[in-house]
């Protein structure tokens, strides 16, 4: 087993032992403040079996995951092309940048009340809020990526007489792709943050809804289950994106390896 994984497992194991010791074994942390492993386990059984907060665990997970993926896709499918356009054309940048300067200082979560007012407690409001928060990092990083393509590489493309469409697909996008992926990672993070916040404020299903109901029920075990579920899903989706990135940037990892 690689050394890194061994150390990682050892860390998790020690944290769990410490958790067990502080709550169950010595009772230093009272049960009302922080749940013991046993309470957390029974909350997990509770939500996956009988269900909690309007549905069982699979249903909450499915709903949260679905909304994150949809919001994320809407955000990057609009954000990346806009970033490409701004990177390509100074005119487009001049048009679009002022709008950004006005919208950017507004924290994405501040859109939640307006979104719920417009679109209600259903999917549409949440996708809209995720879109607002996940859109910006995609645009900015894609734009920066295009602007960072080295001038000789662009000149080589001009010299080779590239048709416009091929220039975009074979020079601009791959040239900007390391930065585009940085943007996607930040967008994904923003998607999760915003979704959980939006579900806390109002939702019929979802992990944020579980957290919210558990808080009102004074049910620490369930709160922890909700938090761990979000953590695992966030990690999993980031992992999937990381695999896509590693595949798309094979040429770049070769570059990094060559540089040592």
């Amino acid at each position: 087993m690689p050394r890194r994984i061994t150390i990682g497992l050892a860390t998790i194991l020690s944290v769990c032992t410490l958790w067990y010791g502080l709550t169950t074994l010595f009772g230093i942390i009272p049960a009302g403040r922080f749940p013991s492993p046993a309470e957390t386990w029974s909350a997990l059984i509770h939500v996956s079996g009988r269900g909690y907060g309007g549905g069982d665990l699979a249903m909450h997970v499915y709903n949260s995951l679905r909304l994150v993926v949809m919001g994320f896709l809407v955000a990057i499918m609009t954000g990346v092309p806009l970033g490409l356009l701004m990177g390509w054309s100074r005119k487009a940048e001049a048009f679009i940048n002022p709008i950004f300067l006005i919208i950017r200082p507004i924290p994405p979560l501040a859109w939640i009340p307006l979104a719920i007012l417009w679109l209600g407690l259903g999917d549409a409001a949440k996708i809209m809020v995720i879109w607002f928060s996940a859109f910006v990092p995609s645009v900015i990083n894609t734009y920066t990526g295009v602007r960072n393509i080295e001038r000789p590489v662009l000149e080589a493309a001009y010299m080779l007489g590239m048709p416009k469409f091929r220039f975009v697909t074979e020079v601009m996008i791959p040239g900007a792709s390391p930065m585009i992926f940085t943007g996607l990672r930040l967008s994904l993070q923003a998607s999760w943050t915003t979704l959980v916040a939006a579900e806390l404020v109002g939702a019929f299903y979802g992990l944020g809804r579980v957290l919210n109901v558990a808080q009102q029920d004074l049910y620490p075990g369930m709160i922890l289950v909700g938090m761990i579920a979000v953590a695992i899903l966030g990690w999993g989706t980031t992992r999937v994106l990381g695999m896509a990135e590693a595949h798309a940037l094979r040429w770049n990892t070769a570059a990094l390896a060559a540089k040592g």
């Binding site: 590489v153 000149e155 040429w251 570059a255």
Partner: protein, 265 residues
């Protein structure tokens, strides 16, 4: 055909009256299939000359033309080899060379044949599937030369192509370029600050003054090379020992040193 002509060319960066005067009254003709090297002190505008032929810069006054047609934009009829290689790092060696041919809508079979031939000629066959970063600097520049040569351009523009290479690799590349240029002559504009390189490679050498750059002198190397039969020597050091070579080299050195002295005066 590939006759490159500079006619009364001035180049000012910035406003005409107050900007930086890079080139002044450049008049130069590079004949069809002639190898012309430009040497000059750094900052004299020699690279700007090349960039105007490539279509990356426009002249402030005067005309830069190829076969009588003024240059408007970059294009594959004027292939460029850059000092920093400028390969597409996300494309394999093969795809880097292929791209220009695809843009010219060459048929697949024809492309494959031409790429195979150039890979063979440049000793790159076994690296066809490699990415640029997996190759040494010398290998990368070989790919860049292959990418330019495969287009079969009328005009080949080389901007200090060996400037980023170590001394040994540089010598090998110079020998290979001589081989390539004699076998498959093109109109070449070759920018360098290395005097030996210019004398070894070129048919004629143009010496430029410090900024604002002017053409100070154009030396005919080809007639001496042919008279002394330089091409019969396989190794560059054998040519460099010849009295005729040393004489030319010293002449150019002196001329450049005058420019250096003038700069400090």
């Amino acid at each position: 055909m590939g006759v490159i002509e500079f006619k009364n060319v001035n180049k000012v960066f910035g406003p005409r009256a107050t900007g930086f005067r890079a080139l002044e009254d450049i008049n130069l003709e590079i004949r069809d299939k002639e190898f012309m090297a430009i040497v000059g002190p750094s900052g004299c505008g020699k690279t700007t000359c090349l960039r105007m032929v490539a279509g990356f810069e426009t002249a402030t006054d005067g005309v830069v033309s190829v076969d009588g047609t003024p240059i408007k934009r970059p294009g594959p009829d004027r292939a460029v080899v850059f000092q920093q290689f400028a390969l597409f790092p996300w494309k394999s060696v093969y795809d880097n060379i292929d791209l220009g041919l695809r843009n010219l809508n060459v048929s697949r079979a024809d492309r494959e044949a031409r790429i195979d031939a150039i890979l063979d000629l440049m000793n790159l066959k076994q690296y066809a599937k490699h990415f640029p970063h997996q190759l040494s600097g010398g290998m990368q520049q070989r790919v860049a030369i292959a990418r330019a040569y495969v287009l079969d351009p009328d005009v080949l523009l080389m901007d200090e192509p060996f400037g980023a290479l170590d001394a040994q690799t540089r010598v090998v590349m110079q020998e290979e370029l001589v081989r390539l240029a004699r076998k498959n002559p093109r109109s070449v504009l070759f920018i360098t600050h290395a005097v030996e390189e210019a004398v070894y490679l070129a048919d004629r050498v143009a010496i430029m003054t410090r900024a604002p750059g002017r053409i100070k002198e154009v030396l005919d190397i080809a007639s001496i090379r042919n008279a002394e039969n330089w091409d019969s020597y396989e190794k560059i050091e054998d040519v460099m020992d010849l009295e005729s070579f040393v004489h030319l080299r010293t002449h150019i050195w002196r001329s450049l040193r005058e420019e250096k002295a003038a700069q400090h005066a």
